[in-house]
Amino acid sequence: MPQDACDVAIIGRGPGGLQAAIHAAGKKVKVIVFGRPERSSLYKAHVANFCCFEEIVSGKQLLEAGKRQAESFDSVFVEQDIIETKSENNRFRLVTENGETFSAIAVILAMGIARKKLRVKGEKELLGRGVSYCVDCDANFYRGMDVAVVGNESAAAAGALTLLGYAKKVYLVCPKLTITDLLHEQLNHSDVKIIRDAWVKEIRGGTEVEAVLLTDGDVLKVNGVFVELGAKGAMELAANLGVVFDAETFSFIETNKKQETNIPGLYAAGDITGQPWQIAKAVGEGCVAGMEAAKYAKRLARS
């Protein structure tokens, strides 16, 4: 098997993803885990209600221990976000923020959930009139215009680079940029205008977006604002594979008891499948998803 191919790829390094890695790798399949520990909502939390841990433990410590455990079962960790997914010929193709491509027989979605909205004045009012949450969907509407991308992580950085192919001028508002060195370098060598010392305070416009007011008082005259907070999540990475979302909120991925989505070979575990936001639920689902994905991958590898 080549270096960039695996049986089970896990997107997300929270408790669901780690437990899935432990159980999948335990079944002797090749497992790669993508993502960063800081993206997990457990990273900054303290846990007091997780069975068998009487003392309050830090989430960060749990995540580090889980990684060591998964590695002891030969899981491989790639500390990059996934920015693109595709399925072709019974395999999934995943592209990382550095532009590296990996193939997998089965994929477990365990990216959790993250805030997608900026919560600033003008954002809601101008949605669809210059405010967008999806560079991949809407870049084409901004040909020859000036746009701002807002966000500190891979989705925003990759989005800004994508927009260079469409827009006239691209700003990236990112005071706390956390991306790989390679992506950083690509940005620095591009025409993206990087704003590091301010955040967005307000989005201004009448019937359409006209400008962005920054926290340092500067005003960017733009026709569009792309809000791309965090890493790409369920809607960005799973929807294009044809995954069914929960009917009630359209935010979570539907799974059955085996943690299978409606797409063969695609599983989901943890917060991404819906409430409750508990480590116990995430590891339970991760365990099942890991085992089932490994079984699926073995079956498909034989056929």
Binding site: L127, G128, R129, G130, V131, S132, Y133, C134, D136, C137, D138, N140, F141, Y142, T207, E208, G224, M235, E236, L237, A238, A239, N240, G242, V243, V244, F245, A247, E248, T249, F250
Partner: protein
């Protein structure tokens, strides 16, 4: 009419199929590369099965038909516009839950 499913409309037939239609119409402006558009497609089909007798459910690929979305100042997809008597009755942007969209189409029933 319920058996016809979601109708594909384009720049060429938008006026005759939607604006001059004798029924209200819900048009989903979408593109094949758009994930949220894919997510909402089955919801459109389900609603068509329930309300297809009284409302036209249609979709317009913005990639193949750029003029119509430009006319309605569409800058994000999916955008769903509800038309009545050739005019925009309401519109919603993004992949929204079925209950939300159902309440939306009931406005013109």
């Amino acid at each position: 009419m319920a058996e016809q499913g979601v109708l594909d409309v384009n720049d060429g037939n938008f006026e005759s199929e939607i604006l001059k239609a004798d029924k209200p119409a819900l048009v989903d402006f979408w593109a094949p590369w758009c994930g949220p558009c894919k997510a909402i497609a089955p919801v459109m089909e389900e609603l068509e099965e329930t309300y297809g007798e009284s409302i036209i459910f249609a979709r317009c690929n913005v990639d193949n038909s750029p003029n119509t979305p430009a006319q309605y100042s569409i800058r994000a997809i999916p955008t769903l516009i509800l038309f009545q008597n050739g005019k925009v009755a309401d519109q919603v942007v993004g992949a929204v839950p079925k209950s939300h969209l159902e309440a939306f189409v009931k406005k013109v029933l």
